[in-house]
């Protein structure tokens, strides 16, 4: 039975939906608004567009969930994630591409023509290995310095993708990245790919949930709150931080592999620092240390980004810039009025 009191009822249960909304429950409002927004978008633009948006959402959401493990749950503000995303994307692209570069009359790279599901684990492993090596060094840094070195990693990654032309083709990019094949069935339909992307998102989210609710996750929370105290009680915090850093990087590589397969073409422009900053913005928008918040943040971002296309008075050339402006304004407003993000447990 709903009552008008915002607190718990006599039975100790939380009050109903409407009283909670009336009480200005931001979390509920945020969930409801995004849900209505999604439904409205699907009804307005049709199922085809919804499938596209769904796939974009799944890729950004995998990235956001994985980055939240590092930023939200462990307290390491990193903008390096785009590098691991790129490693996953390029690994899948290089290993699966079947392009005959001699026909393109540009410089070529060796082709391996591996199936997607053989290339993806290579990308994941490579990202994990890179994260391990980089993480050993990064573990020496904290706070602002950590942000700066992660910034450096993002820039170095981009420059490697751009300049290691013998394997990435540099600015020419890599064409004809293979779609996944399950049995004899090629997942070349948009709906099929969406389903696979959502399955990957579900697996990544489930793994993240398992991690944060385990005793390992509890130590991450402790490290986030007070690294020295955790160390005093017997936890080798550098090992924990390194472990979550590597796991998170491997998750980002999954998103990268999906991205390159879905777009079938990648070049370094998809892995610029700005994308990493957008990703951090999504995590902050959704809220730190909340998996559901990362999903909500990714969905809000995708709806904003794609919604820009349909603003009648906004010329197409300004759509890209407009999404950055809107996201920037939204972040400023969040920092002013809700620094913990939509569903967050912590302030940045």
């Amino acid at each position: 039975m709903a009552t008008n009191t915002p607190e718990t009822t006599e039975e100790g249960r939380r009050p109903g939906l409407i009283p909670r909304l009336a009480n200005g429950n931001v979390e509920l409002w945020a969930n409801l608004i995004v849900l209505v927004w999604v439904i409205a978008f699907v009804l307005w633009q049709g199922v085809g567009f919804a499938i596209t948006i769904g796939t974009v959402f799944a890729i950004w959401a995998i990235l956001a969930v994985s980055l939240n493990l590092v930023i939200g749950f462990t307290g390491l503000l990193s903008v390096a994630h785009i590098g691991f995303f790129g490693i996953g994307a390029y690994s899948v692209a290089i290993l699966t591409s079947k392009t005959d570069y001699s026909l393109l009359r540009t410089e070529g790279i060796p082709t391996y023509e591996l199936p997607f599901f053989a290339a993806l684990p290579v990308g994941i492993a490579l990202a994990g290995l890179t994260a391990l090596v980089v993480g050993v060094v990064f573990n020496r840094f904290r706070d602002d310095v950590f942000v700066l070195v992660s910034f450096g990693f993002a820039i170095i990654s981009f420059n490697l993708f751009l300049n290691a032309r013998a394997i990435t083709r540099g600015a020419f990019g890599i064409h004809d990245v293979a779609r996944p094949v399950i049995g004899t069935r090629v997942l070349d339909g948009e709906l099929e790919f969406l389903v696979m992307a959502l399955v990957c998102l579900a697996l990544v989210s489930a793994l993240a949930w398992f991690i944060v609710t385990s005793s390992f996750g509890r130590v991450l929370t402790a490290i986030r709150e007070d690294e020295q105290a955790a160390s005093v009680f017997g936890y080798q915090v550098t090992h924990y931080k390194l472990a979550i850093w590597v796991i998170s990087a491997m998750m980002a590589a999954v998103a990268g592999g999906l991205f390159s397969s879905w777009t079938s073409f990648i070049d370094p422009n998809s892995f610029i620092l700005l994308e990493s900053i957008l990703l951090v913005s999504i995590v902050i928008l959704g809220g730190l240390a909340t998996i559901w918040g990362s999903l909500l943040g990714a969905m809000t971002f995708v709806l904003l980004e794609e919604g820009m296309r349909f603003i009648p008075f906004l010329p197409d050339v300004y759509v890209g810039q407009a999404r950055q402006v809107v996201l920037g304004v939204m972040l400023v407003l969040l920092m002013l009025f809700r620094p913990q993000g939509l569903l967050g447990r912590y302030r940045l």
């Binding site: 005793s215 509890r218 130590v219 929370t221 402790a222 986030r224 709150e225 007070d226 020295q228 105290a229 955790a230 160390s231 005093v232 009680f233 017997g234 936890y235 080798q236 915090v237 240390a289 447990r345 912590y346």
Partner: protein, 266 residues
């Protein structure tokens, strides 16, 4: 071999021990110096704690009291001297010191406020895999501090200052330590809560037999519960004695007014 080593380090103490006088220290700092750049936090400080003892470390602000505990825990850069545990040098990394049976309750409690009381307690025994033993230890802590049992599923942030201090002590006890190092356990607490904290420190010593080294500002309160006290000034140990010794001298007045000479210069 350990006895020989001990005799070499402390001929006077070994002699006294042979004469059935003072027991050797279980945990000992021997002439430890800590420098933070040009700032001298500790200078040739020698302190120790014997089995069953509660020892206070007192002194004015900046005397180096907290640095004593930090040096033991490997949190301060020791430039000279050694810390010994059971006659062996204690050189392990901070996160491994708890394995030796030394537990630290830092200043300001430093609880993990987004974890529940139960989770905070579990954080205190990272090397314990046996769930039954962990439950037993938690029950021991809950028996000692019943207020924690009533709120075990509450977040640590939802507790009062006094309750948080109980939790901090309990978390320190979860490692089943032989020595508990307490850094300013009454800091920021109301006077009536301060009394209960001191009572609980005594209770831990009496019921569990834990050695306790407590750094404390509240001189009157802490002298009522300790066996011995060290007084520090400008990073040096300037006095060591029983609470009665402290009360009988005007050493504290001199230290707080800046009129004291170090012990080794006397």
């Amino acid at each position: 071999m350990a006895e020989e080593h001990e005799a070499q380090r402390h001929p006077e103490q070994a002699e006294a021990t042979n004469g059935a006088a003072a027991e050797p220290y279980m945990l000992e700092m021997e002439s430890v110096s800590v420098h933070y750049g040009a700032v001298v936090a500790l200078e040739h400080a020698s302190l120790g704690i014997r089995r069953g003892e509660v020892v206070a470390v007192m002194g004015p602000n900046g005397a180096g009291k907290s640095t004593v505990l930090k040096a033991i825990m490997g949190l301060a850069p020791v430039s000279e001297g050694h810390v010994y545990w059971r006659d062996a040098p204690l050189t392990t990394a901070t996160h491994e010191i708890v394995k030796h049976g030394i537990s630290f309750v830092p200043q300001g409690r430093r609880l993990f406020t987004h974890l529940t009381i139960e989770e905070n307690l579990e954080m205190g025994c990272p090397y314990l895999r046996d769930k039954v033993e962990r439950r037993r230890r938690m029950d021991t802590v809950m028996d000692l501090f019943p207020v924690l049992a009533d709120k075990r599923k509450d977040l640590a942030s939802q507790m009062s200052g006094g309750q948080q201090q109980m939790l901090a002590l309990g978390r320190g006890l979860m490692a089943n330590p032989e020595v508990l190092l307490l850094d300013e356990p009454t800091l920021g607490l109301a006077p009536n809560i301060v009394a209960s904290v001191f009572f609980n420190v005594s209770l831990i010593s009496e019921q569990l037999g834990t050695m306790i080294m407590v750094v404390e500002h509240n001189i009157k309160g802490v002298l009522d519960i300790v066996d011995r006290a060290y007084i520090l000034d400008n990073g040096r140990v300037v006095f060591e004695g029983t609470p009665d010794d402290v009360r009988e001298t005007n050493i504290l007045t001199e230290v707080f007014l800046g009129k004291v000479q170090p012990m080794d210069e006397e």
